[in-house]
Amino acid sequence: MLTRVAIAVAVIAIVPWVVPSFLVFDLIYVASYAIAILGLIILTGMNGQISLGHGAFMALGGYVVAVLAHTAGWPYWLCVPLAAVASGLAGLLIGLVALRLAGVYLALATFSLAVATPSFLKHYKSITGGFGGMSLQPVQAPAGVPLDGQHWLYYVAWAVAGILFLLSALLVRGQFGRALRALLDNPIAAVSFGVNPYFYKTAAFGWSAVLAGIAGGFYAIPTAYVSPDTFTSALSITLLIGAVLGGISTFWGALVGGIVVEFLPLVAQQINAAAPSVVYGVALILVMMFLPDGIVGGLLRLVHRFRRAPPQPVLESSTPSAAPVAVPSRASSAVEE
């Protein structure tokens, strides 16, 4: 696994020197998406709590950064951690509410959050700048660093992503991860073994919100602008699409998912500029039909087939065929009838 990580790090480091500059810019957004999707992988993939509202946490993070930077003039390296704290707290709060909801009810509650986000942003216009939005200063590399602003931001974004992936891996490697999975697979058994569901489920929500909040910061900063239009419910849907398409059971899925949601719309336009949505929608359907466990899931299955021996237990994934079901199945919930 470590070789894979090293390769990934090397690729990320080298890419800006071999691709055109506008792609470097796009890859900053890939980092942002990957971070947010990682949150969904932990929350939904490992713990089974569906969130259709993580775009709201991105909005919170993005706007905290924007307000602090624009109104108070604080530097970004100070704003982003504060955004993380703010969205973490919000995530814990929502997580507490989410304890009482499950499956489709949780999906609706979080989706409501996503849908209501632009309204809130418009409503509190004295803070958020209303629908006019707020402009931000473009990023400059610090003195002494021979990179232009864009390249610097790329490395910062990916370094932060790397750190967050690392922290998350540490988190889920031990008891935390086991508890999350246990609560998904067999909650009754987990609780009888002393796993406190309230703590772990809320914490999972909180951590995924922290990730989304930081992602929101790295979504706003390269754009150098925030507005309610930037954070519509479509963003939350995009994150979920990225998570499932990438592969909701492994951290690599976040990386692949980020790449997919960033570049698939652009590819769709190349194929049919008149109706790119049709291409995009059909692509989603086809990928799900042929790779129901996502792209990474599909690749792992392929690798599985070529190796007779079972694969090495990887840090962050369960084997693909046992991809945890993210929704408590209907059969079990109707059991009492």
């Binding site: 939904t44 569906i50 509410v97 009482r100 909801l101 499950a102 489709v104 009810y105 999906a107 609706l108 509650a109 989706f111 409501s112 959050l113 849908v115 209501a116 309204s119 809130f120 418009k122 409503h123 909650p187 009754i188 609780v191 569901p197 419910s233 849907i237 979920l240 699409i241 499932v244 398409l245 909701i248 008149a274 109706a275 790119p276 949505s277 049709v278 291409v279 995009y280 929608g281 059909v282 692509a283 989603l284 359907i285 799900m288 039909m289 129901p292 466990d293 991809a323 945890p324 079901v325 993210a326 929704v327 199945s329 209907r330 059969a331 919930s333 109707a334 059991v335 009492e336 009838e337």
Partner: protein, 293 residues
């Protein structure tokens, strides 16, 4: 309070729009346990088909009937072709497929019929009505009546017919149903067909009021989703009641609570629903299932 009465009536009118789509959402949920994101777009697409028929000179009620039948067939076909391959996969995968359908059907409708907003003929008389100074239209009443009738038909179908029973069994206990000889796969397809047919009815009822364009159903979908959950995601009655209640509540909140205004109406309504869910996790008419964890 004449104005209050008017707002309530407007709310019922709007709520009936939510109710009719919520019915379709509930049907799919009962069959498959997922929320079908594409429900609204399917309804919109079939409404365009109805529009096309009317443009070609077909009388509105015949166009209505033809469209509902076409929607049924389309729903069945969609399930067999697109959903069946992913039936066995985890439910998130299916949700993504419905999202894919949502996006592509929306694009397809825009491609075929363009984006100019179109009037859709109402099957009901257009003269405005008034009772005690409160204005409404025959359309408003018509939507409520049609929704209730559809609800009645569905309930009778599920409770009293063999096929309905088979469908319920296939949804709840697929393995046992197979043992009993029920073709579970086809029951699922029927569920989709039924939901699409109800969706078509919903679209045809809604279009005269909100006017026909490819994005017509998107605003309704969120509210329909909320209404279905409020009423109890598996309860058709809940869908209709939930829709009506939601429509009225939103109207009243937006009009009379100043700090909510119009901006936060949806947010407030959704907040209320979340609160309701916290108290009654299965919604107003849902059956409470006990999970001891």
């Amino acid at each position: 309070m004449h104005d209050l009465a008017q707002q309530i009536v407007s709310g019922l009118a709007q709520g009936s729009i939510f109710a009719s789509l919520a019915l379709a959402l509930v049907l799919i949920y009962r069959a498959m346990g997922i929320i079908n994101f594409a429900q609204g777009e399917l309804a919109m697409f079939t409404t365009y088909i109805a529009w096309q028929l009317v443009q070609m000179g077909v009388p509105i009620w015949i166009a209505f009937a033809l469209t509902v039948m076409a929607a049924f067939a389309g729903g069945v076909a969609l399930e067999r072709v697109v959903i069946r391959p992913v039936e066995r996969a985890n439910q998130l995968t299916v949700v993504i497929v419905t999202l894919g359908l949502f996006i592509s059907i929306n694009g397809l409708a825009g491609w075929f019929w363009g984006y100019i907003v179109k009037a859709f003929p109402t099957p009901f008389p257009t003269t405005p009505l008034q009772i005690g100074g409160v204005a409404f239209s025959a359309q408003d009443v018509g939507v409520i009546v049609v929704s209730v009738v559809t609800l009645g038909l569905i309930s009778v179908f599920f409770q009293k017919t063999k096929l309905g029973l088979a469908m319920r069994a296939a949804a709840l206990y697929p393995e046992q149903s197979r043992v009993l000889g029920i073709r579970v796969g086809w029951m699922l397809a029927l569920g989709w067909g039924l939901a699409s047919a109800v969706g078509a009815i919903s679209g045809i009822m809604i279009a005269p009021v909100v006017f026909l364009d490819p994005n017509m159903m998107q605003s309704v979908l969120v509210y329909a989703f909320a209404a279905a959950v409020l009423g109890g995601i598996e309860s058709p009655i809940g869908a209709v009641v939930g829709g009506l209640v939601l429509g009225v509540v939103i109207n009243l909140l937006g009009t009379y609570v100043d700090w909510i205004g119009n901006e936060l109406r949806l947010a407030a309504a959704l907040a209320i629903i979340v609160v309701v869910l916290l108290v009654r996790p299965a919604g107003l008419f849902g059956r409470v299932t006990v999970q001891r964890v």
